[in-house]
């Protein structure tokens, strides 16, 4: 049976067919849908982990205990999981283990453009790079064979266009793989120095054997056509090159890219006069070509950043892209992403943006959007969980001077569980008066609504324990905690006033669900009447002062024909932030 699938769906399907029984992940674009699809197969125990390090460690435990397992994450997630990865490679597997990294050339939803192929070389972990959805599925199955045959975890490197592009996949059947027995083996699983030294030597032997495999496998193949021009590419870049060159050049299509098949690369290069190495981000393949003594057109010829789409290749080679229609770009408005109508972050950031002498330390999530207009209420965004710790460091230094500057550090519920909790412990321990704010919208929002330890459900949709953030924060020794409804601006102001007067650590928890969330029974009970109303403007009272527009709500607008503000009834959910912003009472909320 054939089906149109994204690369993420195909990875999940491949894991299913390969007999995988355990999957763990932390959500992150473009990898999120891997675990979401995994959880639709009842044969695979699928879990959202609290962060990527935890996800990988859980998958390692599953593999040690004898099951085939998989951990998936976005590229920056592998930084978090790098610690277990680099030693796990020494140990070797029992059940097969695959680690998926989803890289983001072009940075559509990421803070950097790191090339995780470097991790393969760094960690000495064999790497596969699929080019489309069919390969995603087939290579996952192959990855488990290699993992168990060579006693090694496998790094499975995807990119956004592989993850999120759909192409046709031929489905297969699931092959049940029996659980292997676990035996204590301290010479393998207890990586103390004496053991690690022995494993380090064995690791080199494993890489030698895998190099032979790399030379022989059809995952690395030549497609020869007449002429002396050749393209070397892996992943989606292979299809980009095919789009531009068709059958006019020969290809060395690499799917198994660590260790690289150096003899095969040499043999290909020897037959060519001109060699294009087409790859995104770092000159990973190019360096191998140059080490072999061949000149090539690579990172010095194509842009060293961004996606290497057919257009980019054409512009480099032909000096121009396809012929286009000439048009005036002057009238095009910008359309940045924005907080949704009814977003519970709005009331908080609208209020916060009025405060002076603050540094607002931000994090990774929807609330990063508060950095742009109209709020401009966020001054840093580094990595997951960094807002509290970066904020603590900044507050400590501000307190050395006399500016009186205060730090308000913000992050979401899922980010708090990810690594924010460590940062908060640090603030409490080292006693800065940083105001740490947990924007608890009862779900993992930006990545598209995944459950987390605070929501009451697991990745398979089953009810589970709820970790109550307030209780947890109190248990850490935070004495000053305010739990507020962020839609009520008076509550936000009161909490900020209270915390700004303190000389000790404090925490504000804004507790209100994401407007796009599928509400649980507990949500419906706790937040009775949420998103039920509509706000409207009384045109006889509205004087067109536009103060309400400063809330940045996309449901509000001013028409070309009249000065009064209008509220779009389809998108308004009656959060009433605009009603509270209006000082002359022109906006009214109706219950529905």
């Amino acid at each position: 049976m054939k089906q149109l699938m994204t690369g993420d769906e195909a990875v999940a399907r491949g894991a299913y067919e390969a007999g995988v029984r355990f999957a763990s992940a932390y959500p992150g674009t473009p990898s999120t849908e891997i675990l979401e699809n995994m959880s639709t197969y009842r044969e695979i125990r699928s879990e959202w982990a609290t962060n990527e390090k935890v996800a990988l460690e859980a998958a390692i435990g599953a593999a040690v205990a004898g099951s085939r397992s998989i951990a998936s994450m976005k590229h920056v997630g592998l930084n978090v999981a790098a610690d277990p990865l680099l030693t796990w490679v020494y140990m070797g597997v029992n059940g097969g283990n695959v680690i998926v990294t989803a890289d983001e050339p072009g940075m559509f939803s990421s803070q950097n453009e790191q090339d995780n192929r470097n991790y393969a070389k760094f960690a000495k972990v064999p790497m596969l790079e699929p080019a489309d959805s069919q390969e995603c599925k087939d290579m996952i199955v192959k990855a488990y064979e290699i993992s168990e045959a060579y006693n090694t975890p496998i790094l499975f490197r995807m990119t956004t266009r592989v993850c999120h592009s759909k192409s046709v996949v031929e489905l297969g059947e699931r092959r049940e793989v029996p659980l292997k027995d676990w035996e204590p083996d301290n010479g393998k699983y207890v990586c103390v120095p004496a053991v690690a030294r022995r494993l380090r030597v064995k690791l080199e032997d494993r890489i030698r054997k895998l190099t032979e495999f790399s030379e022989g496998t059809e995952l690395n193949r030549m497609e020869m056509h007449p002429g002396k021009t050749g393209v070397i590419a892996s992943g989606i870049c292979y299809h980009y090159a095919k789009e531009v060159f068709g059958d006019s050049v020969s290809y060395l299509k690499l799917g198994f890219t660590y260790p690289l098949p150096m003899k095969k690369i040499r043999s290909f290069c020897e037959q060519m006069d001109t060699i294009y190495v087409i790859e995104e981000t770092d000159p990973y393949l190019e360096e191998a070509v140059r080490v072999l003594g061949f000149d090539c057109l690579g990172n010095n010829y194509f842009p060293p950043y961004g996606e290497m789409t057919p257009d980019v290749i054409r512009r480099a080679i032909q000096g121009q892209g396809e012929e286009t229609i000439d048009y005036d770009t002057g009238k095009i408005i910008s359309r940045p992403p924005t907080l949704c109508a009814g977003c519970p972050h709005r009331g908080f950031f609208y209020t916060l943006s009025d405060r002076k002498n603050l540094m607002i330390s931000g994090d990774i999530g929807c609330y990063t959007l508060a950095s742009s207009k109209p709020y401009q209420a966020l001054h840093s965004a580094l990595c997951m969980g960094a807002s509290f710790s970066l904020g603590h460091g900044a507050q400590t230094v501000f307190n050395m001077g006399d500016s009186g500057k205060r730090v308000v550090a913000v992050l979401g519920d899922s980010t708090f569980f990810h690594t924010g909790i460590n940062s908060l412990i640090n603030t409490v321990y080292n006693q800065s008066n940083t105001i740490s704010v947990i924007l608890d919208n009862r779900i993992t929002g930006m990545t598209g609504h995944q459950e987390n330890p605070g929501t009451g459900f697991d990745a398979m949709g089953e009810p589970t324990n709820i970790i109550d953030i307030e209780t947890l924060v109190r248990s850490l020794g935070v004495k000053h905690i305010r739990v507020i409804d962020p839609n009520l601006l008076d509550q936000v102001n009161e909490a900020l006033d209270y915390c700004l007067a303190l000389n000790e650590p404090s925490v504000i928890i804004t507790r209100y669900p994401c407007v796009l969330k599928k509400f649980s029974e507990a949500d419906k009970q706790e937040f009775e009447g949420m998103f039920q109303g509509k706000c409207h403007v009384d045109p006889d009272i509205c004087i067109g002062c536009k103060i309400c527009l400063e809330t940045g709500c996309p449901a509000l607008s001013v028409g070309r024909d009249m000065p009064q503000v209008r509220i779009d009834r389809t998108s308004c959910v009656g959060c009433s932030v605009c009603e509270q912003a209006c000082s002359i009472g022109a906006i009214e909320r109706e219950e529905q």
Partner: protein, 189 residues
């Protein structure tokens, strides 16, 4: 010969569902199909696009500037933003619908009233009022399926069994209205 259809709009307008039904139909018809989307941050009221390519054998899932046979804009400003992706002899279908962005709402930028005229200076666009047609059918949310109907008609894909694709894609209670919407979109051209 590979054909390329670029669907653009604003997050939340239903470009993803429209392209899902479109690609399912193209696959049923025996084409090799590739589709590319960017998810994530841009969902939140930002500019979004779905790129659909089909033919005997498709290499790249991505449509480049000057590479689209058809541009379908669910919002008219987005048509202007992506007009450079059309081939010189490509076709544009534009929904006569306006969504202001936050910089427009806050008064930092102006949404010019003559966007359709601007588009028509460069390309002979087929303008549809999908919102009005959808309201006429009783559900403003099917504007995306109306535009899908228009694509199907213009790209001469009417022989594909769209009814069964719609039935297997949308919830049972929405099948009839979506089928009506599809027909309405085909009739609009």
């Amino acid at each position: 010969m590979t054909k390329s259809i670029l669907l653009v709009g604003v997050g939340g307008q239903g470009t993803i569902l429209a392209s899902k039904i479109l690609t399912a139909g193209l696959m049923e018809a025996g084409y090799d199909v590739k589709m590319s989307e960017i998810h994530g941050m841009s969902q939140r009221g930002g500019s979004v696009s779905s790129q659909v390519r089909y033919g005997e054998s498709v290499a790249s899932p991505v449509i480049n500037e000057g590479g689209a046979d058809m541009l379908v804009a669910f919002e008219k400003m987005e048509a202007l933003r992506y007009i450079g992706f059309l081939k010189k002899d490509g076709t544009a279908v534009v929904n006569d619908f306006e969504i202001p962005s936050i910089p427009v709402i806050t008064g930092d930028e102006t949404y010019a009233p003559d966007i359709l005229e601007e588009i028509r200076k460069h390309v002979s666009a087929k303008v549809i009022n999908a919102a009005e047609l959808a309201n006429g059918l009783g559900n403003a949310k099917v504007a995306n399926i109306i535009l899908l109907g228009t694509i199907i008609k213009i790209m001469e894909l009417t022989k594909i069994d769209w009814e069964s694709i719609v039935r297997s894609t949308v919830k049972p209670q929405f099948v009839e209205i979506n089928l009506e919407a599809l027909q309405s979109g085909m009739d609009a051209v």
